[in-house]
Symmetry: none
Subunit: 415 residues, 2 copies
């Protein structure tokens, strides 16, 4: 099955918004074996939308368009699709049901006229429920070709694609594609490539390998395509078993795993609790931990100690330690970790202190110098990291490195 993605919106054409919707959708469709032949961004103009649809259907079986479904006057996708299919707008009871439900959930008073009109859809489509917004998705099918129209709001679109569209499209496909993704932390891309070079060279031709680096993480994705699903899975799993002993400690998870989730599951499993004391990461580590639903089971709380007073008064870091070694030092992070562990009475504690940048560095401690400590009932270990000069990336890398240090400590102590 070949597909084209069409994103509608002037904001894309003036460069105000980066088209992350299209790349996300391309990735999802690719995972179920659908080839994307073109991605197109066009303006909110009727004739442009119609011309793009005509062209796209010349080479694609599936066209997915996003955007232009809001309640306001500049949202013209629905009317354009009516004209394109020679259809009429019709009030759809199911679509209205979801709009009313959303209003009730949010405690909004009455459905406004503009929102009521969003329940009107062309009479030749099925609606795709939108549980996160007022614009329903629309699924058109005509002479073996499929057109799907979705709102451009990323989280609305994503939920509709994951929960409704992908399962429906999967049923139509005969070629299987099997992916397995390994999540890796604590090693750079080129160093990793050296470590696994021989393994990579011996991979069978039908298995493709992709490096997908992100700040502080690398994903390695293995892909095989074919008619026998079980065979694909067996061959990929065999290769992963060969890979694991080459990079122990770096692989923290597979497929949908997130480091913060893996660590949370370990804490849950061993009935251990955690607290954090953060300086340069400013709450981002706590945010990662608490982004996991149910984290209150193992996470008690944190102190964000941006100023030295807070480090001393709340975390019991000694004034002499700060004076002799500075806030970014092994001695300080160790005292911070012990301080928060005692204060919140947890089994483990993580502390981070560093220079996130872009300013505040010195010759001795340049921007990107980060100390991280992990305290358990038995010991406090600390590690120094030398990261780059981008504040946002340093914060994320430091938090991920801290989580991986904790993960390894739990595995060591609890195994």
């Amino acid at each position: 099955m070949k597909a084209e993605l069409i994103s509608i919106g002037d904001e894309l054409l003036i460069g105000q918004v980066v088209n992350t919707n299209a790349s996300w959708m391309a990735e999802q469709l690719n995972l179920i074996g659908i080839d994307i032949v073109q991605i197109t961004s066009i303006a909110d103009k009727k004739q442009d939308i119609k011309a793009s649809l005509d062209r796209a259907f010349q080479h694609s079986d599936l066209v997915m368009i996003t955007g232009g479904l809001g309640p306001t006057n500049d949202d013209i996708t629905k009317l354009t699709l009516c004209e394109y299919f020679n259809a009429k707008l019709q009030f759809n009871q199911d679509a209205y049901f979801f709009i009313e439900k959303l209003f009730a959930q949010r405690g909004w008073k009455t459905v406004t006229e503009l929102n009521r009109q969003q329940a009107e859809v062309p009479d030749n489509c099925k609606i795709i429920p939108n549980h996160n917004g007022t614009a329903p998705g629309m699924w058109f099918e005509d002479k073996g070709k499929i057109l799907i129209s979705l709102p451009g709001v990323p989280f609305e679109m994503k939920a509709m694609v994951s929960n409704y569209i992908i399962p429906q499209l999967k049923e139509k496909s005969v070629i299987h594609i099997f992916h397995k993704t390994l999540h890796i932390q604590g090693v750079g891309e080129s160093f990793l490539a050296e470590l696994i070079k021989d393994w990579e060279n011996q991979l069978p031709v039908q298995i493709k390998l992709a490096y997908l680096p992100q700040p502080g993480l690398i994903r390695l994705r293995l892909t095989a395509k074919g008619k026998n699903k079980a065979e694909l899975e067996t061959s990929i799993n065999a290769e992963i078993e060969k890979l694991q002993p080459l990079i122990p400690g770096f692989i923290f998870g597979y497929d949908d795993d997130l480091l913060e989730k893996v660590v949370g599951e370990l804490l849950s499993k061993h009935k251990k609790t955690i607290s954090t004391a953060e300086s340069c990461t400013g709450g981002y580590l706590s945010h990662l931990i608490t982004s996991i639903a149910g984290s209150s089971e193992y996470y008690k709380g944190s102190v964000i100690a941006y100023s030295n007073e807070v480090k001393m008064n709340l975390l019991q870091v000694k004034a002499t330690t700060l004076e002799h070694y500075g806030a970014v030092s092994e001695a300080t992070v160790k005292e911070m970790a012990m301080g928060i562990k005692n204060l919140l009475q947890t089994d483990y504690a993580i502390s981070i202190s560093g220079i996130a940048g872009p300013d505040g560095g010195s010759e001795e401690k340049p921007v990107g110098t980060i100390w991280i400590a992990v305290a358990s009932d038995k010991a406090v270990i600390a590690e120094k990291f030398l990261l780059g000069d981008d504040r946002g990336r340093n914060i994320r890398k430091a938090a991920l490195s801290a989580l991986n240090m904790l993960r390894k400590q739990i595995l060591l102590k609890c195994s």
Copy 2:
């Protein structure tokens, strides 16, 4: 002048790489008054490239393509352009000069044969110097239409666009474009549309309005195009002045402003300090505040109080308050805000307690119920929000709502 951007590369079509090149180029061209009518991503295939060029030139005067100019076999753009223009590859002395210069600068030994071949370009183009890589850009001009081919490596492409292409194109252009973006918090898209309906209807035809919603925020963009730059600016500013009194308190900034930055600047300006006590947002509010470089000037720290023990022991929330009203209540957030303000001795304090979801709701307090308090030296105010059932969005919306509450308090107290 109308333009189309064509990005070449399989990595775009499988969603491995987000097309940030195109949005950056679109922004640069737009700023000099060039209209982007389409952005297209296609595969590394000759026939796809040729078909896209044919189509693009039907509606555009300028086509810019990126990618496929590397030294390896899968880089086919140059050969395809030769075929497209019926041209021949010719060794270009200027292009070779820049390649040799780059090798000398980087201390690389000798120019390899593969890199030498990169100095061969179609004989009907001018080269565009590339000071950061070995692939020269190419500028074709034929019957009043321009085709520009650039490498896909972002920093190589950007330097060539900024230093060479934009100045050349500017000389050809007479039309200016002026944008102004308003950032809005605290009101939903359709409510906002209702509030400003009359203003929107009276906008002069040459001013276009776009709604750009994000979780917890809306951007409103006004755009005008014409020959007189000063006139465009004046007419947009006049409309913004009419809009401001219609939605007081909701507009927090313009153009590149971020709410966390605006709030930080207000705190700096008035020499005030801030601390936060977070429950359901789990550190995300602190993360937003500290994502701004220099925030240590006004931000002292936070307590993330996920458990009731931490709320009582560190923030001095009374056991009876938690018992009678629960952790998600007006009384509790007010005590949390006062507690952290006293503990860290700051001028302002924000506290948040709520049910982020997806579980933990009840009939009385459904998922998405969030209480936020802002304490100053004079008062503690609290507000209740009813958000949705998506944990990540609830966390972000709550943090943004809290920052906007603080912003309004500072404006009220310090004006």
